[in-house]
């Protein structure tokens, strides 16, 4: 016999119902045939022998009905009616099937059906919009790739490659006349050689002068500088064209850096000068002048460390 009240007494109020989920304010019913989802005397499908719900399967809505006459046959308890896809027609179908049923169930069925159709419409709309595809990353693969990238970076030697490419372009003349280095490298090399020989010869002359300068230090420094200047004028003429242009083209930051470089080179120069030639630490006033003359030569020998200090 079906005693709804007894059933409700047991599961609803006092003892345990496995479909019940209680929160502080509300009780919910997890039974899939429940029409409202709340745990109520009128919404409990176990405690009502005459009951109806709407359920949706793959976009199709069905009306399920349970009557007391079939309570003894659990396998055939629920009657399933397919509802039409047309909203109004489906509502009429519900009305027609649930004629003479309690108002509550009829109303709730229609409400539920409305909600279901609404969410089905939204689902169909979303599919047409942009879909975001999540691609899973494999941790191993990512780690491997990262390592490969690091190794490739080391193998690439980017700075060297870029510098080489830029120098190539300069040699090929893509820059036109902006930089007034003479285009032919071997002309330049020749000039360098000539300069070297000249500078060596001048060094010898200077040695003599330098000794004199050393002796006269206390007396007449500035006059001596002028004479030194005259010796150096030829050297300067050979170099000033490129030097001036270098300095013109430099922006402030790079000029500062160049000065730093030049200072470094100067230190190196003085060391090598001391080692190379005889006691050539003349009056500091002329070092500034001499620096310009000798800078080009020092480049030849100490290109490597200088470039290392420059590149990041």
């Amino acid at each position: 016999m079906q005693h709804d009240d007894v059933i409700w007494d047991i599961i609803g109020n006092k003892q345990f119902c496995s479909f019940k989920v209680k929160t502080k304010s509300q009780g919910f019913c997890r039974n899939e045939y429940n029409i409202t989802g709340l745990c109520n005397r009128s919404s409990c499908p176990l405690a009502n022998s005459q009951y109806a719900t709407i359920r949706e399967e793959k976009g199709q809505c069905f009306l399920y009905m349970k009557v007391i006459e079939r309570a003894a046959f659990p396998a055939k308890m629920w009657e399933k009616v397919k509802l039409s896809k047309n909203y109004e027609k489906a509502l009429e179908q519900i009305d027609e099937n649930l004629i003479y049923w309690p108002r509550f169930i009829r109303h709730k069925c229609k409400q539920r059906f409305t909600k279901i159709t609404q969410y089905l419409i939204r689902m169909r709309k979303l599919v047409l919009k942009r879909q975001r595809k999540l691609v899973p990353l494999s941790r191993k693969v990512e780690r491997r790739e990262k390592r490969k990238e690091e190794k490739a970076l080391i193998a690439a030697q980017l700075d060297n490659a870029i510098e080489k490419e830029l120098l190539e372009r300069l040699k090929q003349g893509t820059y036109g006349d902006i930089y007034n280095f003479p285009v032919h490298a071997f002309d330049r090399a020749l000039e360098q050689q000539d300069a070297d020989s000249e500078s060596e010869s001048e060094e010898e002359e200077e040695e003599v002068d330098d000794e004199d300068v050393g002796k006269r230090e206390f007396v007449a420094d500035e006059e001596v500088e002028e004479s030194d200047l005259s010796d150096f004028e030829e050297m300067n003429k050979l170099r000033t064209s490129s030097d001036e242009e270098d300095q013109d083209e430099e922006e402030e930051e790079s000029s500062e850096e160049e000065e730093e470089d030049e200072e470094e080179e100067e230190e190196m120069e003085t060391k090598t000068k001391a080692s190379r030639s005889k006691g050539k630490s003349p009056a500091n006033g002329s070092v500034a002048r001499k620096k310009r003359a000798y800078v080009e030569i020092e480049y030849e020998q100490e290109t490597e460390p200088a470039s290392k200090s420059r590149t990041t």
């Binding site: 491997r144 193998a155 830029l166 902006i178």
Partner: protein
């Protein structure tokens, strides 16, 4: 346990010495029965081949893990010793010969050992030249169009991505950054075409870091999808210079050697205007090494014609090509010219695609 084990191991070391000989010979391809004789020739401690182990003996057949491990270590040590001896011999020979010594051998690098790729482009290849004359970039390379780039992101970009996009926009002349607002790319593209954009660049973001880039050449050009890694923004650079100016930079493309690499190289080249302003002394580099494209942005200065100084400005990042698709962005129905298939392409360490 310990006490009893020691003599056992000693015995086994004794056995090992005998075992070593046949074991060593067998991996050296000596599977036939004459293993025993050869051992006697080779080994100094030539005990007679009384310990006649079957010639197909190898280290991996010993079931006991400890013993197997010890045997293997000994094997390795022997190998190493032989290698050192060989090296010493060679060195002595080299010193003995002095000047007449043969030149030092070139060390093997991955680039040296690269698997020959039949799609390597020959600089004088006519077919390639013809293709490039008529492909989608020909309009750019003939000077007909000026590049105009639209940079955008995926939905709701975070600060880092936004900054990255802004910096990219300063690096690429004539670039505009637009906020995405959840628009579909397929609808964005016709609008871009209508406004004469030549490039659409979409930076994809994941967990607040840019990690992907879709580069789409606009009047139905190819679409390339890259993975971005190691992004470094301007303020994270060490020893960087001032901000880049508005001058158009020069472009350097290194190592794009295969056919695919060529098309990607042209894709990058067409981002920048055809005539760089040398006054600006800025250079953007795309360097391909082992399928990773490194992007750098520098300012250079020529100190003399043998020396140039470069200073890095601008963001730096690394790209890896994931797919190249003909036509504008269409992930479902597009025709893919090349897709990264990890199992096939990553299997060999000497094989590269770009």
């Amino acid at each position: 346990m310990d006490i009893t084990e020691v003599p056992v191991s000693q015995d086994s070391t004794g056995k090992k010495k005998k075992n070593k000989k046949p074991k060593k010979k067998s991996p050296e391809g000596n599977a036939e029965g004459s293993g025993v004789e050869k051992e006697e020739e080779k080994m100094e401690k030539s005990e007679p081949g009384a310990a006649a182990f079957p010639p197909t003996f190898s280290v991996s057949e010993i079931k006991n893990k400890q013993r197997r491990h010890l045997m293997f270590m000994k094997f390795k040590q022997e190998k190493r010793k032989q290698k050192m001896q060989l090296k010493k011999k060679k060195k002595k020979e080299r010193e003995a010969l002095g000047d007449k010594a043969p030149p030092k051998e070139v060390p093997k690098t991955i680039e040296n050992q690269r698997v020959f790729d039949e799609t390597m482009v020959d600089p004088e290849d006519e077919e390639v030249a013809f293709d490039e004359g008529t492909d989608e970039f020909s309009a750019y390379f003939n000077g007909l169009t000026n590049p105009k780039v639209l940079i955008t992101t995926s939905d709701r970009p975070r600060g880092r991505t936004v900054k990255f996009c802004e910096q990219l926009a300063t690096v690429i002349p004539n670039a505009h950054v637009y906020y995405r607002r959840g628009l579909a790319l397929k609808r964005v593209i016709p609008q871009c075409v209508a406004r004469n954009f030549t490039y659409l660049m979409v930076i994809n973001e994941d967990r607040k870091m840019p990690n992907g880039m879709v580069l789409c050449h606009l009047p139905d050009g190819p679409t390339a999808h890259f993975k971005i890694s190691s992004v470094r923004l301007r303020k994270e650079m060490k020893r960087r210079g001032k901000d880049p100016t508005e001058h158009s930079p020069e472009v350097i493309l290194n190592n794009f050697s295969t056919r695919l690499g060529h098309s990607i190289g042209r894709l990058f080249a067409a981002l920048f205007p055809q005539d760089p302003q040398f006054v600006g002394r800025q250079v953007a580099t795309f360097h391909n090494q082992r399928d990773f494209v490194f992007f750098r942005f520098h300012r250079y200065i020529f100190k003399n014609e043998k020396k140039v100084g470069i200073q890095e400005l601008g963001p730096r990042f690394t790209l890896k090509l994931r797919s190249l698709q003909k036509g504008t962005f269409d992930s479902k129905f597009g025709e893919y010219e090349w897709v990264l298939k990890r199992h096939e392409m990553d299997a060999c360490r000497r094989k590269f695609q770009l």
